[in-house]
């Protein structure tokens, strides 16, 4: 079964990395996976879409995802500028970096700031969001941690694993 996920983030938040880490984790779970960054030419700070596909069969398509099974939103503010339904399949679900809002939510910014995952003023929420998404997408925490450890090194790997773990356990259904 092919699952298609769209990540909405601001540049610098690490949406692309999150997709990549999750794809790698899925592979470690013996699935096929694909992470596509939708690069606009915008500079840092603007809205970035990243796509993630996970399947038990080879993934052959390379186009962008227009209607996702899951939309993952890396900043609450994004909700103000986009209409999530435009990105979502009927019956698709949303995950938002927030205390409230979305079908699922997780305060990834808080996790990031607590762990001092901040760069140029931005909390880097990618691993926390990845943790939350892994849970929703049935990716094993174990594989996710491995993927994070292959992506980051030393101290950074540790903190990011920490962030992912935290989010993995803390992500919850939202009742808006």
């Amino acid at each position: 079964m092919l699952k298609e996920i769209t990540i909405l983030s601001f540049g610098g938040q690490g949406g692309v990395t999150a997709a990549r880490i999750l794809a790698l984790a899925a592979v470690k779970d013996d699935k096929f996976a694909q992470a596509i960054p939708q690069f606009g030419a915008e500079r840092r700070g603007s809205l970035v879409k990243s796509y993630l596909r996970i399947s038990d069969k080879e993934i052959r398509r390379h186009s962008s995802i227009r209607e996702a099974d899951v939309v993952s939103v890396f900043a609450e503010k994004i909700l103000k500028i986009v209409n999530l339904e435009d990105y979502l399949k009927d019956g698709g679900i949303t995950l938002v970096n927030s205390e409230i809002g979305g079908d699922y939510c997780i305060n990834a910014s808080k996790i990031a700031i607590e762990l001092n995952l901040v760069s140029a003023g931005w909390p880097i929420v990618n691993t926390a969001m990845a943790g939350a998404m892994a849970k929703i997408l049935d990716i094993s925490l174990d594989s996710l941690i491995k993927a994070i450890n292959e992506t980051f090194h030393d101290k950074l790997a540790e903190i990011n694993s920490e962030a992912a773990k935290k989010a993995y356990t803390e992500v919850h259904k939202c009742n808006q």
Partner: protein
């Protein structure tokens, strides 16, 4: 080793495994990561090679021309405006019969500025004597690059490994990377028809016209026979890896009444679209071109014979048609040629399903059709 990797990374890996000795390249989105990755490998000692940080693409290809003609396995990579900027060298290298490999990440030519894929850029090379391949996915980008060195060195023709901007260059996918030992067993020591610097001879002097003609004829004929070399090399590669990277790929075409011909990353979407239509009972299949040069006419004819043919081009020759469409039409009849996805316009499974269905309903007129969006 199975992992995930972007197309750009996979190409860099292939270059490393090929024991490339000299690399020169200039950054351009979406090829940049290849350059960065190789710079890093060289800097860290992971790859024992010279990295020349040139100031332009003309110099990038000029530098690897220099190192390749002097006997070293060499690599560069570019895209779009970069390819056009080195265009003089593109012809020079082919006419000089110097083997080397270049990755071309296909990107739209401006203005307006646009960094997304279409195939018009790489097709500007098609007359020049380069072997031109085009990957469908990251795995093929890796495989073709690696095989490129062998093919290039056997034919004494430069080799291009093409892949679509972003859809492959920046997409992380599952890919199987060879270990160094296996790569070594596949790829022999470099050879080439002459090496500069060993004898007191002069290369490329002004020559009587007949010399030029003789050389061009030889290239022409080498290209005509190049399919055999590619067959051989891809078979050797298949024996090692189990993966075939031959000139063409056939997908559900054996019993197809309708045949689609295309190349590049969207061929994957086309396969999914074909599966959809097959479910509906529509007898449709795909002929994917992995190479544009050489173009295996006989083989294509044989595969397509008796079927309705749609050639889908992500490129165009102004006022004529799709480039692949035109070339196929030159040796086959009754081809419908659709141009789409220009400027990186997103064409996915849905759009292709729609288009192919229309084709199977004979609703596309037998002409060139230029679609802004499908």
């Amino acid at each position: 080793m199975k992992t995930i990797m972007t197309g750009n990374q996979a190409v860099a890996e292939a270059v490393k495994l090929s024991r490339t000795e000299v690399i020169a390249a200039y950054p351009i989105t979406p090829q940049t990561v290849i350059v960065e990755k190789l710079a890093e490998m060289v800097d860290s000692g992971e790859l024992d090679a010279e990295f020349i940080r040139v100031e332009s693409e003309h110099s990038a290809l000029a530098s690897v021309y220099g190192s390749a003609v002097a006997g070293k396995r060499s690599f560069t990579a570019t895209s779009s405006h970069g390819l056009l900027y080195m265009y003089e060298m593109v012809w020079w290298v082919a006419n000089a019969r110097v083997p080397l490999v270049m990755a071309v990440v296909t990107r739209t030519i401006g203005p307006p500025w646009n960094i997304h894929t279409d195939h018009t850029d790489i097709l500007t090379m098609r007359d020049s004597g380069w072997i031109i391949s085009m990957a469908e996915n990251v795995q093929e980008a890796f495989d073709l690059t690696l095989q490129g060195f062998k093919i290039s060195e056997e034919l004494n023709l430069p080799f291009t490994a093409g892949m679509d901007a972003f859809q492959l260059s920046h997409t992380s996918e599952v890919v199987e990377i060879l270990d160094q030992e296996t790569a070594d067993s596949f790829l022999p020591e470099r050879r080439q028809c002459y090496v500069f610097g060993e004898e007191n001879t002069t290369i490329g002097s002004l020559a009587p016209n007949e010399c030029t003609a003789k050389l061009r004829k030889d290239t022409f004929e080498t290209m005509l026979k190049a399919d055999k070399t590619i067959d051989k090399v891809s078979k050797e590669y298949e024996e090692i890896t189990g993966r075939n990277c031959g000139l063409i790929e056939e997908y559900r075409i054996d019993d197809a009444e309708y045949a689609v011909v295309m190349m590049g990353a969207w061929s994957g979407d086309a396969k999914d679209a074909i599966d959809e239509l097959r479910k509906e009972g529509i007898p449709i299949g795909l002929l994917k071109l992995r190479y544009i040069r050489p173009i295996p006419q006989k083989r294509i004819e044989k595969v397509l014979e008796g079927r309705e043919i749609l050639v889908l081009d992500r490129d165009c020759s102004m006022g004529l048609g799709g480039i692949i469409g035109t070339e196929l039409k030159s040796f086959m009849d009754d081809i419908t040629n659709v141009i789409a996805g220009i400027g990186g316009v997103d064409v996915g499974v849905n759009e292709l399903t729609k288009l192919f269905r229309k084709f199977s309903e004979d609703k596309l007129k037998d002409e060139v059709i230029f679609l802004e969006v499908i």
